[in-house]
């Protein structure tokens, strides 16, 4: 029971990553609409930011998985 609770709490990191990626993508599409000629560098920055933001969700997922498997 406590293991399941711990894993569920660990997976809550997904909230932060989801909000972050959504915000970054919204801003990036705004920026691309305003300056289509800079679309390439904006896309690169977006990819980097999404990868870094997503890492937090992945950490939570890996921790939750480790909790369930190694219990």
């Amino acid at each position: 029971m406590s293991v399941a609770l711990g894993a569920a709490i660990a997976v809550f990191t997904g909230i932060g990553a989801g909000l972050g990626i959504g915000y970054a993508t919204a801003k990036a599409s705004e920026a691309m609409a305003r300056q289509p000629e800079a679309a390439k560098s904006i896309r690169n920055a977006l990819l980097l930011g999404c990868a870094l933001a997503e890492a937090t969700a992945i950490y939570g997922f890996v921790i939750g998985l480790a909790l369930i498997i190694t219990k």
Binding site: L47, A51, I58, Y59, F61, V62, L65, I68
Partner: protein
Amino acid sequence: MTARTGAAVFPALSPCEIYRDCRHVPKGNEVRSLSNIQAALTEKLQNVTAFTIPLFGGIPVAESVVVSWILMALILLLVLLATRHLNPDHPGRLQSLLEMAVDGLNKFTEENIGVHWRHFAPWLGTVAVYIACANLSGLIGLTPPTKDVSVTAALALTSVFLIYGGSLRFLGVRRGLHKFVEPLPLLAPINILEVGIRPLSLCMRLFGNVLGSFIIMELIKAVMPVVAPTFFSLYFDIFDGLIQTIVFVFLTALFTGDALEVD
């Protein structure tokens, strides 16, 4: 597209067990079927040992290593076949395609790494081909090697050697070490922490993504084994696998370019 359904080829993985458990458990007994799913999932997450070399008391060879060998053989064969009749004067259709790919890789490396790009492009291209093939290998019924944390850890370690080795090699030891106290000496602890954080995050990102999509695909197959896996595997296997390839190579190139930057 019979994506992933070929996983049944491996007897050790036996995906049928989940389906059987879900269907034939009597009603009102969901707890048992849930724990069965958990047990089957845990079984699939084990990294299977393919065989053991009878040397020095037995060296276990993991399934991911064997799948990597298969992929290496396939890639080598494809490369040898594709580059058989190269002609600089009359490039064929295939040769033009290959030249475009190599050109794109070179341009990408040059943009992100700068003047010393030529030393890094071959390695980045090789890693991109390997990770892409490894992530997509689920489509032909193999277990993706990148589902094994040892494989992604090895890839991340080579990346970090490339980053800091390149910095010491091309900037010299003095300036390479000086990178650690830039932009402020106050930030030196954070820069040193990054030596450990970068490979950890590269490793966990790739591993977590591949494992996550693997688990989700297994769950989907457990719930609805017929039509749904095809559509979901389009996203989880192909799109996610290719995006993670790009992210890994892009981050490595970016970090390397960062380490080689001269003010």
